[in-house]
Amino acid sequence: MANPYYDAADLRKFGKITEWSEELGTKFFDYYGKVFEEGALSAREKSLIALAVAHVVKCPYCIDAYTKDGLEKGITKEEMMEAVHAGAAIESGATLVHGVQMMNKYNKLSM
């Protein structure tokens, strides 16, 4: 069925959110732009963080955008995949560390 919730072409229209709330939209894009400038972290490092987070929040737009951004910045596919693993490791770790809660509850309820 060709009626997807996510349309890759919608990414290009992201800027249009400003049309329905100019003040908040503009503030957001100003902030967003500032975040990714060279700072204490390089723009290259921030691009890899963004790519990892894009996978963790499972945002297809962000994955497209930051894969392309990485290519533009000369980031290699090995670096990109390691960043994705870093995100995935934290995400799976976040799940697994709840195993302690399960163990605590199990022990409390068990005689």
Binding site: R12, E38, S42, A43, K68, L71, E72, K73, G74, T76
Partner: protein, 352 residues
């Protein structure tokens, strides 16, 4: 990896009219994206006109030892278009009398022209301030007869500008062919050995970076920093500047964009990144491009699209710099490639 030019493959894109049809049609004709002409008209830049002539760029032939996937010249070993000594002599007359301060030899691999060395020796005598040869690096290692090129360049104080798509082997070889990375590294080391590219050296060695795919180049300064760090750490190689150049949607790069279904997205990316400030210094406003057979063009890209200058003076045999400079520059949608982001020219960004 292609081993033949589009021309040798008799690909329909080898016909320049077909390329222009694509660039003028599709999403532009449908009104989805604005024509370049309308975009620059908004800032009062249409028709686009030259400023002072600074760069004479001479293409001495389309023959090359490589068949790079992105090549806008569609160059390769099977291309037989080579500048003759007679045409070179006509070029020398122009070089001796031009007001331009930069002479830029390109190709193909310019070194493969049998009269290349004679031409460089003669042209160097004219004493042009900046004498550039665009070398693909691997030519220096391609055959024994080219091994002494670093010394030859040094003798004539040639400014060497070389392509290097990435500082890793994988990315370089994917774009330019197997073994290109190792040969390029060796060639750069040899250029360093005779003094090219060293921090205080007058022997200029710059690198050209262009993306290996359907995306735009990132920040030139940041890329230069990454290239410098990696090349010096891994191979002890030094160079002066990195020029980040955007791939223009013509010839083999256009063929790739269409075949990989990236054409529309790429054109959107170019138009979205349009920077009016880059229009001011776009290279066709200070450059004349001369083809192997002596025709005159606004730039090397227009040369490949066979869009000769819109002037009474169309060929070097009638060359008159003053008359030639009074013309309108021919544009189409490929021009968005030179105005995207920080802009792009054969000398890198134009609106940093």
């Amino acid at each position: 990896m292609a081993t033949k030019s589009l021309k040798a493959r008799q690909d329909e894109l080898a016909v320049t009219n077909k390329q222009l049809e694509i660039l003028n049609g599709g999403i532009f004709a449908a009104g989805e994206l604005p024509f370049f002409k309308d975009k620059i008209a908004n800032i009062g830049k249409f028709p686009l006109q030259p400023k002072k002539l600074e760069i004479l760029q001479i293409n001495v032939g389309y023959m090359c030892n490589q068949v790079c996937e992105h090549c806008h010249v569609d160059a390769g070993p099977d291309r037989k278009e080579i500048m003759t000594r007679e045409t070179m002599s006509q070029c020398l007359d122009i070089i001796r009398n031009t007001g331009a301060n930069t002479l830029d030899l390109t190709g193909g691999a310019p070194e493969m022209n049998p009269d290349f060395r004679w031409f460089v020796e003669e042209a160097a005598k004219a004493g042009i301030q900046d004498f550039i040869v665009r070398s693909n690096l691997t030519i220096i290692r391609a055959n024994k007869k080219y091994y002494d090129l670093p010394e030859f360049f040094k003798k004539h104080n040639v400014h060497v500008i070389s392509s290097m798509p990435h500082y890793t082997r994988g990315k370089t070889d994917k774009q330019r062919g197997d073994g290109v990375f190792d040969k390029s590294i060796k060639a750069l080391q040899e250029l360093n050995a005779v003094g090219y590219g060293l921090p205080d050296s007058n022997l200029r060695l710059d690198l050209v970076y262009n993306p290996s795919g359907a995306y735009l180049p990132g920040d030139q300064m940041a890329l230069e920093k990454d290239f410098k760090k990696a090349l010096v750490e891994d191979f002890g190689i030094q160079f002066h500047n990195l020029f980040a150049i955007t791939n223009l949607p013509i010839a083999r790069f256009l063929d790739y964009l269409i075949a990989s279904e990236n054409y529309e997205d790429y054109m959107y990316a170019l138009v979205d990144a349009y920077n009016p400030a880059a229009v001011e210094n776009v290279m066709c406003t200070n450059t004349i491009s001369i083809s192997w057979d002596g025709w005159l063009y606004d730039c090397d890209f227009n040369q490949m699209l066979d869009l000769k200058v819109a002037s009474k003076i169309k060929h070097i045999k009638d060359y008159n710099e003053e008359l030639l400079n009074d013309r309108n520059i021919i544009i189409s949608q490929h021009c968005y490639g030179c105005t995207a982001g920080a802009g792009s020219s054969c000398q890198g960004v134009v609106a940093p």
